[in-house]
């Protein structure tokens, strides 16, 4: 018998249906496996693969301690303990364990937080050490979790707080070195993309695993010496207590390379508890970010310009009448009575304004502060010695200050302004600018860019930066530098030499500058400063120190209030640097 599917028979229909179903499967599979291949591969990878961020470790900050380096800022992992109140089984045990182990790190009324059953996350304790966290983990409490957080730790406490700055809760450096060098310190996070198991453990199977190691931040070594910094902060605090000053700043630097050895400001703060600071002004490093009228310290600049241009020497004389007329104003001395033919050395000793206005006039035609005189002064003050210009020090929020150019519009750079500038008024500068310029005046005439970074700590150890070279060489002649040193040494020796350790060569200049209150120079508010240097002999000044004391409504003087702080630090520095006395 011949079997065949009859047209329209049920078997034939079944075959057609099966064929159709198979065709549908084939088409669907083609769509899923070929057309949508990439899409489903992507979905599968998203499920199988995980991406892990490998956090970069923030660079540490070191300071010098003589020839050694010591950590100032390090990283510490601390733990936050949190609870899921819904899954807590034994509340009493949790409370007892945390009280015993976390101690003062627990939050107030943390036991009440465990009753908040409408919440799945309650922080119970913060900033636990690893050891504390491990002990709590060993108790094996249900409903308790831990979160590791890296935080900055300051072994030296508040020492040099305004130099260091701090890292805020978002991990960004603020103020000081942390703020300025945030990019270098934070490093670059790495990542790992890999197939993982159900426990999220990365596996080596898979062809698309990517491992990009983290680049840790740079470990910076400061030129700050912690011993100098500590003594400077103590001396400043003691001096301010003596004077009753509300604010004070001190800067110590090596005039021969621009390295800053100490920078202190009071009031200060504890960077570990920066969030408890009430007045954010405490974050500011006034030595670099608070321009002011430097006052008589700048007379050393005017004297240097006069000597360098050959129009004056410290031993030259002028006729002092205690008053001098410049255009439509009269400049007077603060100290009266040293009239007659006196030397510029005497003018420096008694800080007589008339003497330095006279030098400014001699830079012109002899009786007027002409445009050429103003050009010369601007060249020395601003272009050569850096007043009113950012120094580029590696700290956040440096302010530039202002030195008005003789070419400024509206006649702002006129003779009257430059007569004031001759004795340190009519211009704004920061302590770092004044001290850096003064360093050039006493080191032989080379201007170094001030720096707080001495090198970097690597896996191989401390790698020191190459020795600095002058940013501007010969800003004044060597002979000019020698004369300025001698003049400032003699000025100090006559009045205050007995306060210095014998056998050393120390010089300096006082400054008492009026503060502008309501647009007028106030006689009731003055800033006291002292700018000086010291060393074993006249040929080798080893340090430059600048002290400033101030306060709203306070009348503070350079000689009475700032100088004793300088003397304290200077005498200590001579011992600390093991400088041998002459003779």
């Amino acid at each position: 018998m011949k079997l065949e599917l009859l047209k329209g028979s049920r078997t034939r229909i079944l075959a057609a249906v099966i064929l159709a179903i198979v065709a549908i499967f084939v088409v669907r599979l083609f769509y899923l496996q070929v057309i949508k291949h990439d899409y489903y591969v992507g979905l599968a990878k998203a499920e199988q693969e995980s991406r892990f961020v490998i956090p970069a470790s923030r660079g540490e900050i070191y300071a010098k301690s003589g020839p050694d380096t010591v950590p100032m800022v390090m990283n510490e992992t601390v733990y936050t303990v949190f609870a899921d109140p819904v899954t807590i089984k034994d509340k009493a045990k949790v409370v007892e364990t945390l009280r015993q182990i976390a101690g003062g790190n627990v939050r107030k009324n943390f036991d009440a937080l465990l009753d908040k059953k409408d919440s799945r996350y309650q922080v119970l304790a913060t900033k636990l050490t690893r050891m504390q966290a491990d002990k709590i983990k060993d108790v094996d409490l249900s409903g308790i979790g831990f979160q590791a957080i890296s935080q900055r730790v300051y072994p030296e406490g508040a020492l040099g707080a305004q130099i260091l700055g701090f890292v805020d809760t978002t991990g960004k450096g603020q103020y000081g070195l942390e703020g300025y060098n945030n990019e270098a310190l934070k490093g670059v996070d790495g990542y790992l993309k890999a197939v993982t198991d159900v426990n999220n453990v990365p596996l080596t199977i898979g062809n698309d695993n990517i491992s990009q190691p983290a680049q840790n931040g740079k470990n910076i070594v400061l030129s700050i010496d912690r011993n100098v910094q500590s003594h400077v902060e103590s001396a400043l605090a003691a001096g301010m207590q003596r004077d009753g000053a509300k604010k004070g700043s001190v800067l110590v630097m090596d005039p021969n390379n621009g390295k800053v050895l100490a920078m202190a400001n009071l009031p200060t703060y504890d960077p570990a508890n920066y969030n408890q600071v009430e007045d954010v002004a405490a974050f500011n490093n006034d030595t670099i970010s608070a321009p002011y009228e430097p006052g008589s310290d700048v007379k050393t600049y005017t004297l240097a310009a006069g000597i360098d241009k050959g129009v004056a020497k410290a031993s030259d004389t002028f006729n002092n009448t205690d008053h001098i007329k410049v255009d439509d104003i009269t400049v007077s001395n603060a100290t009266l009575g040293h009239t007659g033919n006196i030397t510029f050395q005497t003018a420096l000793l008694y800080s007589l304004n008339t003497g330095f206005v006279t030098i400014a006039e001699r830079l012109g035609d002899g009786t007027n502060i002409t445009k050429s005189a103003r050009d010369v002064m601007y060249d020395y003050f601003h272009n050569r010695l850096g007043l009113g210009d950012l120094t580029g020090i590696e700290l956040a929020n440096e302010a530039s200050g202002t030195v008005i150019s003789p070419d400024a519009p509206d006649g702002q750079g006129n003779a009257v302004r430059y007569s004031n500038m001759a004795f340190g008024q009519g211009l704004d500068a920061t302590l770092i600018q004044v001290a850096s310029g003064f360093s050039a005046l006493v080191n032989g005439g080379n201007y170094y860019k001030p720096t707080v970074i001495d090198g970097y700590m690597t896996d191989e150890g401390f790698k020191q930066n190459i020795p600095p070279v002058p940013l501007r060489a010969n800003v004044v002649a060597k002979t000019t530098s020698d004369q300025v040193k001698e003049a400032t040494h003699d000025a100090r020796a006559i009045s205050f030499g007995h306060t210095d350790k014998s056998g050393y060569y120390v010089g300096g200049k006082t400054g008492t500058s009026q503060v502008i209150v309501n647009g007028q120079y106030s006689d009731n508010e003055t800033i006291g400063t002292y700018l000086g240097y010291g060393g074993g002999s006249e040929d080798a000044p080893r340090y430059v120190i600048m002290v400033q004391v101030s306060g709203e409504g306070q009348k503070l003087g350079g000689a009475q209030d700032a100088l004793p702080i300088f003397t304290d630090i200077s005498n200590w520095m001579l011992d600390y640097l093991k400088i041998q006395p002459k003779g």
């Binding site: 010591v70 950590p71 390090m74 990283n75 510490e76 992992t77 050490t129 690893r130 050891m131 730790v153 072994p155 030296e156 406490g157 020492l159 198991d197 453990v201 990365p202 596996l203 080596t204 199977i205 912690r226 011993n227 500590s230 041998q580 006395p581």
Partner: protein, 116 residues
């Protein structure tokens, strides 16, 4: 020894070679049909698959070992960090200044310098 006659020439050497040949051929009584063959092939594939799985699992096992070691390294690094911080705190200037040794130090009555 059997002997047969044929029409072909057989060399003496060839005769010698054949001299010790078995004269009886044994045929195995076990017969493998197509099903048995399929099962055997399936078993072989299964064994090979298991071998592959064993190797793959061993690789994954190394991953767990590696992760365990990484974890130990991280723990040791944390301990090292903690110790470094503790060391820094113990040698901090404020700690040194307030130490018994520092408190008992006195200022020298006089200082003499070696001439250089």
């Amino acid at each position: 020894m059997s002997h047969s006659q044929n029409n072909y020439y057989t060399s003496r050497r060839q005769q010698n070679w054949s001299r010790n040949q078995n004269t009886t051929r044994f045929v195995s009584s076990v017969k493998l049909g197509p099903v048995a063959h399929t099962v055997l092939v399936a078993l072989m594939i299964t064994v090979l698959g298991l071998i592959y799985l064993t190797q793959a699992t061993r690789t994954t096992g190394y991953d767990y070992e590696s992760q365990k070691i990484d974890s130990q390294i991280a723990d040791l690094n944390n301990q090292k960090s903690d110790l470094q911080i503790e060391n820094a705190r113990l040698t901090a200037l404020s700690t040194v200044k307030s130490s018994t040794v520092a408190r008992e130090m006195t200022t020298p009555a006089s200082t003499e310098y070696v001439q250089q």
